[in-house]
């Protein structure tokens, strides 16, 4: 059973249990509507959660950017003072920071997409909930309990699917933001202590070794550029 089917089964079985319990099936409509409003609140919370996480990452990015500019200026000063060793150190740190910033940019972009999806889901559900509200009043006014059952099943099934879909969207967004929160906390600590390891590095020993070589090459090139600029 796929992940969505599982989610849908949970939502529908809750609805069915409820229909069995209620004496007049029309009561189901009111209850279902209440559940939909609760779900809408959940979506709103989910959107706010994603926005908060994104804000946090953006703040971290600007902190790192400031550090980057500081290191750049330190490297220039070190060259002027004929301290190539210090300049190299600053440029090595700058390379690490750049990798971190690229990682953050990717995460911010992912959260942007997540936010867009949730906002669209909220709009869809919100419209359906409003339509459902009108339908339920019509059903309650025009049909006897027995006749209403068929109409109720149609409406409740359709909206249950939408609720399951939105529920899954929230769950996935929450999982993503949870993972990012943990990484963001770790990065905050590193920024505070000033010891930035490369959190974004992944892969095996060969990948890491190649990244080191690549970083060393970048540092050498930048060092030469700074020396030329300083006329050294």
């Amino acid at each position: 059973m796929g992940l969505f089917s599982r989610m849908e089964t949970v939502v529908k079985s809750k609805m069915n249990k409820l229909m069995d319990r209620m004496e007049d099936p029309r009561e189901t409509l009111d209850y279902s509507y209440e559940k939909q409003l609760e779900m809408l609140q959940d979506v709103k919370r989910g959107v706010a959660e994603v926005a908060t996480s994104k804000k946090r990452l953006q703040l971290q990015r600007s902190k790192l950017q400031q550090n980057l500019e500081k290191l750049d200026s330190q490297a220039r000063d070190a060259i002027k003072a004929d301290r190539e060793d210090l300049a190299r150190l600053a440029l090595e740190r700058k390379t690490t920071l750049n990798t971190q910033i690229q990682g953050l940019d990717q995460q911010i972009e992912d959260l942007e997409k997540e936010q867009e999806k949730l906002v669209a889901a909220e709009k869809r559900l919100s419209t359906k909930v409003e339509v459902f509200r009108t339908k339920k009043e019509t059903i309650k006014a025009q049909y006897s309990a027995a006749e209403a059952q068929v109409k109720i099943n149609e409406s409740v099934s359709g909206i249950s699917e939408e609720m399951a879909d939105v529920g899954l969207a929230i769950e996935r967004a929450e999982n993503k933001t949870e993972n990012m929160k943990a990484r963001a906390s770790a990065l905050d600590e590193l920024i505070d202590t000033g010891t930035l390891d490369d959190l974004t590095s992944s892969g095996d020993d060969i990948d890491r070794e190649l990244a080191k070589i690549n970083s060393a090459t970048t540092v050498d090139l930048e060092l030469e550029k700074l020396k030329k600029e300083a006329g050294k």
Binding site: S5, T127, G158
Partner: protein, 92 residues
């Protein structure tokens, strides 16, 4: 037929496209069973894109059940092993 793309709403797709979509669906099942993650990702994106281009999005105000449910594009490879197996999403 009505197809829901998880997280993106529902699309009304003419029955005549069923076979075309089923071919992509079966290809994804094969790629997942072979452990080909890259191929799986691009075919899933193709499946979703095909549904959107063959079909028309159902109005938000319509409350209707779907005939088929297609997972989201960011479905992980691990999750895909649960969804794309046997006949896949589209029955042969």
């Amino acid at each position: 037929m009505i197809i829901r793309i998880v997280g993106e709403g529902q699309y009304e797709v003419p029955e005549s496209f069923y076979d075309e979509l089923n071919v992509i669906d079966n290809k994804i099942v094969d790629l997942v069973s072979e452990g080909n993650e890259e191929g799986y990702k691009s075919e899933l994106a193709k499946l979703i894109e095909s549904i959107k281009s063959c079909g028309s999005q159902i109005d938000d105000a319509e409350i209707v059940e779907s005939d088929l449910i297609v997972p989201p594009e960011d479905l992980t490879f691990e999750e895909a092993k649960e969804v794309f197996k046997g006949e896949g999403i589209f029955e042969d």
